[in-house]
């Protein structure tokens, strides 16, 4: 069955069973489930009525046993420690050593730090993966069809929806935390490997049957105000290290000096300034990639010229936006993830820099997330096609190596979604006829800025009028694609086997696309 972005969704994907019995549907276009009702799932939690001093256990193994982890269960993790994370590998090693099998990992995201999981997939111990990001060896083995069930890939908001709706049920959540008290009140500041916020883990703490907090810094009770509340936590384990602090928080990304990136960033800022939403009190999110980050720098003089300020910025937070706020040009920063030490330092001391949950950030199934009120979002892409569909998950070889993250959530929510990407990367045409995998549907993407010109989604007549009025040149996206192909040649279609190895969920839980097992290339 073809979905509304023209992707054939095979019966085997639509037949994948969700925990709550909900049936998968193909993607129907943006806003499809708006106004419908869901019954939230609830966890089965243990009563702790008798007074007790502590929830401390001496090891992760003890916690795995105490939580009754057994064959067929789903365990969850968060990705605030990014590539410095030790938690996933430490916990999975104990589960595997205890001989437990048929495990599904439901993480907010997974990365290169989790290469050891690839081996558990190949051995058939890990049989399910639900995540936003999938990369490295894990992406490779899944793309080669080694995972028993299709991986389910969701946006950050889509994951919260899936947990709350009961599409996935978390049996045990293992939540790494920079600090915790003995009752499980956990914070992201004050420890050895601070990550700033614990936004993605909140839904796990609220919806998992059992919750374990793992920390390397125990602090006196009560560790307040907590990100993860002790009332939701069964056990606390102290380990030597939760992660590598150098990789948990990297130094601030340097502002790009690449003239191509700077030109695209400057053009993006001009486009933003030409739209009707660029007025006092506007809201903004940008990614941490080179050209997206540089937009901050070019936006500032345009704000000054018009005498306006930004009311709030959200998202993955970087030092760049914190700096803009220190200059008095941003009202509030509402933070779901910190990308650098500058952002973490800022949330420690700045009373106008707040932590929010992933649900508040981007969940399409609550009563209105921040993304719904967002004016502008600037995003990157691996590929964009002539229908404005974006791919951020599969490489040009068809292997899984990315993450939708908040891309589809902010793109649907924001009044103006701008994708910034060079026309070509090496020999790869970024603007192409058909993206390998649709991760953000074209009906949510408004403007594409490249180094060879800008294209506006023809559905957005209002933006076209605004750019025309400002004298900003734009071309049909087909022209950009043809220009790209004239430089690098027309790419051959990738070759696939039949097996579906991953399902790309739209944020509302319909199926946007599937990824199939890759076929070794034969010339």
């Amino acid at each position: 069955m073809k979905n509304s972005v023209g992707r054939e969704i095979p019966a085997e994907a639509l037949a994948v069973e969700l925990k709550n019995g909900r049936k998968y549907e193909p993607y129907q276009g943006k806003g499809y489930r708006d106004g419908k009702y869901i019954k939230k799932a609830g966890p089965t939690t243990k009563i702790y009525q008798k007074p007790s001093e502590s929830k401390l256990l001496s090891s992760i193994r003890e916690a795995v046993i105490a939580c009754g982890v057994k064959d067929g269960m789903t365990v969850s993790f968060h990705h605030h420690f990014r590539n410095g994370d030790y938690i996933v590998n430490m916990v999975m090693k104990e589960i595997v050593d205890l001989g437990i099998k048929d495990i599904t990992i439901a993480a907010s995201s997974l990365g290169d730090a989790h290469d050891p999981i690839a081996e558990y997939i190949e051995k058939g111990i890990v049989t399910g993966i639900q995540t936003s990001g999938i990369r490295g060896k894990m992406g490779d083995v899944v793309s080669h069809g080694k995972l028993k069930t299709p991986a389910i890939l969701r946006s950050h908001g889509g994951r919260v929806r899936a947990v709350e709706e009961g599409d996935v049920h978390i049996d045990v959540a293992f939540i790494g935390a920079p600090t915790s008290d003995e009752y499980g009140n956990a914070r992201a500041l004050g420890g050895k490997g601070d990550c700033g916020v614990l936004s993605y883990a909140v839904v796990d703490s609220e919806y998992a049957d059992k919750v374990v907090v793992i920390t390397d810094t125990l602090v006196p009770y009560p560790n307040f105000p907590p990100s993860i509340h002790g009332v939701n936590v069964d056990y606390v384990v102290k380990v030597d290290e939760i992660g590598n602090p150098k990789k948990i928080a990297s130094a601030a990304a340097r502002m790009t000096q690449n003239p191509r990136d700077l030109m695209m960033a400057e053009n993006t800022a001009k486009i933003i300034a030409a739209t009707p939403w660029f007025k006092d009190g506007f809201s903004f999110q940008t990614g941490a990639g080179g050209p997206s980050l540089a937009v901050n720098r070019f936006l500032e003089p345009l704000m000054d010229a018009k005498g306006i300020k930004m009311a709030w910025a959200i998202g993955g937070i970087t030092a760049a936006i914190c700096e803009l706020q220190r200059k008095g040009k941003v009202g509030k920063i509402i933070d779901v993830q910190d990308f650098d030490t500058g952002a973490i330092e800022d949330i420690r001391t700045n009373p106008n820099h707040f932590e929010m949950t992933a649900s508040e950030y981007a969940n399409p199934a609550n009563k209105g997330a921040f993304v719904n009120k967002l004016d502008f979002v600037v995003l990157a892409a691996l590929e964009v096609d002539t229908d404005f569909n974006v791919n951020v998950i599969t490489g040009s070889d068809g292997v899984l190596r990315g993450a939708p993250g908040g891309h589809p959530d902010t793109a649907e929510g924001a009044k103006c979604c701008v994708i910034v990407t060079p026309l070509t990367r090496g020999r790869m045409a970024t603007i192409c006829e058909h993206v390998v995998t649709v991760t953000t549907p074209g009906d949510c993407v408004d403007v594409v800025v490249t180094d060879y010109g800008t294209a506006v989604n023809p559905n957005r007549k209002d933006i076209i009028e605004a750019l025309d009025a400002a004298g900003i040149k734009h071309v049909p996206i087909k022209e950009l694609q043809e220009k790209a192909y004239s430089m690098v040649g027309r790419p051959d279609d990738l070759q696939w086997k039949d097996k579906v190895v991953a399902i790309l969920e739209a944020r509302d839980g319909t199926i946007l696309d599937v990824v199939r097992e890759i076929k070794p290339y034969e010339i």
Partner: protein
């Protein structure tokens, strides 16, 4: 003009291709192709290399192509350069500009 020794041209930088031609007396062209973009451009890279060799009159050779996303014009230039180096005629400057080099 013919291949006398091993001729190499290009680098392993991105957007470049390293081409090595090794002479042999028979057996035709034995092509080994590696590319970072093999799934989408492998067929075109192979065609470009074989067409260049044919134009240069190379009938028998072991050919190793290690590509990192080079455009067709780069591939062509690297094959020609590897050939001329293998012919050891880069000392006296007898390049066939506008002939087989184009």
């Amino acid at each position: 003009m013919e291949l006398k020794a091993v001729g190499t041209a290009g680098t392993l930088e991105s957007s470049d291709v390293m081409v090595t031609l090794e002479p042999r007396t028979s057996g035709g062209i034995d092509l080994t192709l590696e590319s970072s973009v093999i799934n989408q451009y492998g067929r075109q890279i192979k065609a470009e290399v074989l067409a260049s060799l044919e134009r240069l009159g190379v009938k028998n050779a072991k050919v190793i192509v290690n590509d990192h996303g080079a455009l067709d014009c780069t591939i062509k230039a690297r094959v020609e350069c590897a050939f001329y180096r293998g012919c050891q005629c880069d000392m006296d400057g007898r390049f066939d500009w506008g002939g087989v080099i184009r």
